[in-house]
Every structure is written in C-alpha cells, then in structure tokens.
Point group: C2
Chain length 354, copies 2
Amino acid sequence: MNRPIRRVTIKQVAEEAGVSTQTVSRVINERPDVAPETRQRVKEVIARLGYQPSSVARSLIQGRTRTLGVVGYGVEYFGPSRNLSGIEQQASEMGYALILDLVRRPEQSNVEHILREMLARHVDGIIWAVPEIGGNREWVTQAPQLPVPLIFLSTQPRPGIAIANVDNRSGGRMATRHLIEQGRRNIGIITGPLSWWEARQRQCGWQDALENAGLPVSEEFVVEGDWSAASGEQGLRMLLERCSRLDAVFASNDQMALGALQAARRAGLRVPEDLAIVGFDDIPEAAYFCPPLTTIRQDMVELGRLAVRELSRMIEASLEGQTTIEPRAILLRPQLIVRESTVPQGNRTYLFRR
Amino acid sequence: MNRPIRRVTIKQVAEEAGVSTQTVSRVINERPDVAPETRQRVKEVIARLGYQPSSVARSLIQGRTRTLGVVGYGVEYFGPSRNLSGIEQQASEMGYALILDLVRRPEQSNVEHILREMLARHVDGIIWAVPEIGGNREWVTQAPQLPVPLIFLSTQPRPGIAIANVDNRSGGRMATRHLIEQGRRNIGIITGPLSWWEARQRQCGWQDALENAGLPVSEEFVVEGDWSAASGEQGLRMLLERCSRLDAVFASNDQMALGALQAARRAGLRVPEDLAIVGFDDIPEAAYFCPPLTTIRQDMVELGRLAVRELSRMIEASLEGQTTIEPRAILLRPQLIVRESTVPQGNRTYLFRR
DNA sequence: GTGAAAGCGCTAACAC
DNA sequence: GTGTTAGCGCTTTCAC
C-alpha cells in the first residue's frame, strides 16, 4: 500500500503555479478578481496535484463547519431509521455533513457528555432524535442557552423549544375511531412503555375516540407492552383473560400487533371476524401479515427532512444575529391504512366505495 | 433566546486565570508538569467559563480528527441498520466520531464526490458500507492510493483490500442443507437481485448444497426477487407454476420468505407439511410469522464492530508509518435458526434431541 | 489583478 | 513549572 505521506496544501499549489496562496484561494472560492490565464493555470495545478481544500482549516476561520450533529436512538427500528434517512437526505441536499451519535440507553444517556462532544466538533446545529422517556428531557430548558440551535424530535412541545413530531395522539384517535366505525364496542389497547411520551400520546388518542363515541374507558382494557412482538402476544392474552367480550385491539406499534395476531390465532379467534386489530407505523411487512394489518402510517422520512429545514432556518437566523426568532413546533399528521385485519375481505370494496 | 455570541477560547481562559495559553493547554491535556495550585485555578476558570477545547483547532495541528467516515446504504433495512449500530458502538468506545453519508442509488453513486467530501473533512479512515452491486466496485483498485485507510463491507474479496463480510455462501449452504436433511428433494430458490454480489453468493451456497447431496441443479428452480415481500410472493407463485413437485424454498431474505408464506397460504399449501420455507437474516418479526420462520441469522452488529476495529488497526499502522501492513479479509459465519416453517411442530423435539 | 501580513484556536519545541 | 515562539491550512484585510 503506497499511501501519500501528506496531503497537498494550498501552499504547494501556489508554489507550483507560481502565484501566492491568496490567488489560489480566490480560484477555489470562485472569486471574480483573478485573471483568466492565472485561473486556468491554477486550476490545472490543482487537478494535477489532486488538491482538496481542507474544510477543517476553513472551519477554524469561518466559525462554521456546515456540519449538523445528530443524536439518535434505535436506528435498528423502523421509525428511527427512516427518520435518520430523511435527515441525511435533506442535510446532504443543503450541503451539510452529519456527525452521528447513537445512544443505547435513551432514559439515562449522558447528555452533558454528548453535547460537549458535539460542540467540540463545532457542529452548526443539533438534532436530538432520542424519544422523550421518563425524565430524559429535564435539561430541555438549557437548550436555548447552547451556543448553537437545537431541535428535538419526538418530544412533548414546550414553549421556546424547537420540536418536530408526528401527531401520535391524532394517530391513536384515527385507529380507534376506525374500529368504532366497524361496529366494535369493546376495544382494548396494548400500549408502548408508558414511560415513553409517544406511547402515552397514542393512548390518549385511543381514549379520546372512546369518549367521543360515548364508550366507557376502563383500566381493564389497557395493557402495557414494550414495543416487542412478544409483549404484543402476551398483551392480547391478558386482555382476553380479563374481558371475554373483547372485539378489537389497538396495538401501539406493528410489532406488537404482529404478536397479537399470533395470540389471536392460538386462541382460535378469527381476525377480523372475532377480533379486529390495528397497528401503528405501517412497517413494510405489515401488508404481508396474516391477515394484512390495518395500521397508522407516519412519514418519518419527511419528519427528518422537516427537522433539518427548520434547524437550518434557525442556524441562518442565528448567524445573522437575529436573536428574536421564535422556535417552531412542527406536527405531522399520520394516515390510516385499512387492510384486512379490521375489515373482512368482502366488506372491503364496500368500505372504499362509500 | 440568549445565545452566547462567541465560544470561549483558550486565550480567555489563560487571561482569566493569569497564566499562558500553554499552561491551560497542559491542564486540559492532563500533562504532569503543572503546579497543583495552578492546575486547580485553571480548572476552576474552565468550569466557570464553560470552556470546551476546539477539536477543530486540534485537528489542524495534529493532522488527525478522530473521525471515521461511514458511507452507507439502506439504513431503513434490518441488516444495514444493525451494521451502522455496531459501527457506531465500537467507534464511540474507541473515541472516534462518525461522519455519515447515505447513498440512495448504490449502483451508481458518485464515489469521487463522496470521497472528496470525506477527505476534505479529514476523516482518519473510511468504512464503505454500500453493498457490491453491478460495477459499483470498479474503483476498488484506487482505494490503497487514498491518503487514509478504507475498509469495505459486503464486498467480494480482492487482494490488497480490507474487507469485512458475512459468509453468505456458507449461509445459503446451511439453509439448503437443512432442507435436504428434512427430506426435501425439490428445492427452489428465490434469489435477491442478481446484480448484488451477496445475492449471488447465497445462490452459490444453495447450489453447493444441492450438488453435495447429489441433487440436480436446474434453472427451473431459480427465481430472481428484489428483496421485497411482494417479489417473494410472486416468486413462489412462479416456482409453483413451473414445478408442481416443489417441496421447499430457500428465500434469500426474510421479507421474501414472508411473501412466499403468503403465496403458499393462498395456494392452499400447508407450511411446512407441503412446502418448507427458509429465510435469511432473522429479522425480529421472523419468529412471529405464520408459521414462525426458519432462517439464517447474521450478526451484523458484530460485523460493524469488527470493521471499526480493523480500520482502527490500519489507521494506527498508517500513522506509525508502517506501509507494509497487509489488509485483512474478515469473514463472519452466520447461524441456522430452526423454527416451524421447515419442521412440523411434532418433529421439533426429536430434531433437537439427536 | 495580485501579494503580504495577520490571525482563527490550539499545541510542539524550546527557552528560562 | 511556566512562558515564548512558531506554525497547522486557510481566509480576511489591506496594500500595491
């Protein structure tokens, strides 16, 4: 392996082209005030030497790195991975690079340490894409004091804080309302871990829908899961034990819905005839569950993109010294996807027709 | 929002503490040659001012950023997301930050551009985690000429190139051998897109196993999918049309296996009695398919970790001027996970016992 | 149009 | 132990 010992610097290019480093700088920055022949000559040298300006040196001078810090959790899951993907797409389109930090214990990650790391690397802004769990947002009031703008994802709105969320409550409402419209009356819920703000929001949506329909909301109908298929399976078993009249379940994500489908099968229940099931997320596999799963789709890619655009807006404002910019709260509406786990195949056409 | 206008610099700390910047530098780098009182005083000032050394400035001097560039594809899929997670974990443990670039068209991404970006940001090494597809590795011979080490993931081994792979061929062999051991004789395969090197490897494994068992290998048994559940569904339908004696299928990933399960169900076939199905990946949902899916598990997290460790080794060697270090090819063996899609429930205990 | 000088924030090398 | 000087690679003044 013959690795070039040192990178080519602006100095070498200048020397080789017989000009000052200044002129080279002008050329690489496309400044107008360079003689055409000079420009040409310099460009040739650059190409020949394979010179690449150091963005590290540039950053040092300009106080701006064109880098965003992303603090994420759970890329191995569907939502967060799409989220990251959207963030990367938009950032890349806007000329930002991404520094990625993934936390593994979202409830108790070392916020201080992560922020110091990001700031040491002079990121221009930070996207905090770790879900709000337990008390892991207690430091939120310090965010505005940071030297760079920060936007939170999946976080309870608070005044003065920039936030981008999917409307989980509305999603829970849509799921449950759909079940009610199918004539279901005894509708259970398998929630996510209730320490998660998003899980609680989905539950609130379920409750909203029941109350709007004048149906009773009972503790008996609530089981807490942990997002896993295993917990969904166990969750449905528990609901069935508690309440034999159960005719529908809202599982707060598709994995738990999958587990619930399996539990229903084992209990000898037909889905949707005996028991209707709705999930949340619309993972690609959901359309191939047995039966295909009705669920709530959330556009996590778009959410990521929106977050980057908003953050960029904040960065620009901050660079221009506008201290008055009001942080926005972005809210993305999810969408109901109807499949056979709630509507018997025969009825489906009918449903779409009305 | 009251954002501090400027960051605190070493100069301010020095002034405030009444020492030279040198001394401050010594303190933050934990050098021994500072008087205890001085150290104490400086530390207090640092804490009071909230000073954070600029790694940008440090990088400029030391010619080293403690940053790895990661070029990835498909974080929204199971394998790549785990991969990224493993990379991040290991990098973080070793004190490296990650700069992330996700390509969206892996066959034809602009390699030159991406490398320039990474090098401009002075990454210490690069992990190329885009799968080998079509001719997208034609530039591979240039890798050793780069100013920093680079390791490829999911790439056909080539001399002089550092690589980390799961042994897909062995995985395909394991899957197929398992089907043969279950007494199956007409074993079809739904491959991934054959422009993918990994997909071809899995197919080679299937062929190996058939040949080892003295079974005929026929074109008729091969259908090309695109990794999606939809293609798996269609793939099985095609196989069934072509060959009514078909008694087993190796689907080259779990999504396609899921689609195949659905097609089998619709064709009125019992799984595994009439048709056995094996997948590849062991996504978490696989255990909850209907029936639970036998599959090949690959530890993508570990693969990511291994890649980072190897890259780090190359970086250290390169910094010490050892030009003779021989790039390694890491190969991770996958593992067969037996579930009910290949073994009728009754036989299962028997199988484990022998 | 082009170059010289200064400096971004930090550390290495040397002096005291 | 501590300070001074120089310089990493680049851009920003400000001359000429």
